[in-house]
Point group: C2
Chain length 128, copies 2
């Protein structure tokens, strides 16, 4: 199975879903190397576009994403990874999911989840 | 709330999740116009990179995605849209979800879902 990395300049999106609850936790990008590292280690590893390097999710926070199952879509250009999420949350702002805000019909964003941890205590200033 | 369309040349990824079951159905891309159309109509509208135009999901098949809720992530560059999915499935290959294949540890893809409709009957040759 050859994944299609061409559409996004060497990257594919990886949707991260909690295997237990079905909650969508975050989305990240992987290059081929990060995909291979994720498969080999069983821990989700992304490629950071802003820092231009691989990063194992949780390497700083300990909030590791253990792979339960990897799904691939019909066009072979997107992954859905079902995980066991260690720790209280994946979001560098201190929430369980990065999707903690809801858009109103007028386009305003409202926080609709509760913080599950103090991001400064976990990440310090340089949150991620 | 200004969404960040800059990271992907004017597009943002939109993850589509069944509001009832939590199943992740597909991922598509939206430009600002498709986002606005989705908000205004209450029906998910993507921007097709291959055809370089907007398309309302279901315009051909009738398998429309009715918006229940739009979430935005911490970096304001990804949407999670919870929907009521009309019809038997969203995938142009005839499955309920586009993520109907599982990757094995060796990287092989295996179909793990049942087809829910005949894609040829719904889409003809030019499936989408």
């Amino acid at each position: 199975m050859e994944l299609d990395f061409k559409k996004l300049d060497g990257l594919i999106p990886a949707i991260i879903q909690d295997a237990g609850t079905g909650e969508v936790l975050m989305m990240g990008f992987m290059n081929a190397e990060a995909c291979a590292a994720t498969q080999a280690s069983g821990e989700v590893t992304f490629f950071s576009r802003s820092r231009n390097k691989m990063w194992r999710k949780g390497e700083q926070s300990g909030h590791v994403l253990r792979v339960r199952e990897i799904r691939v879509d019909c066009d072979v250009d997107t992954l859905l990874i079902r995980v066991d999420a260690l720790g209280p949350g994946v979001c560098h702002e201190g929430y369980r999911s990065c999707f903690f805000r809801k858009l109103s019909p007028s386009g305003e964003a409202h926080v609709v989840e509760e913080r599950t941890f103090d991001p400064k205590a976990v990440y310090g200033k340089d949150a991620r």
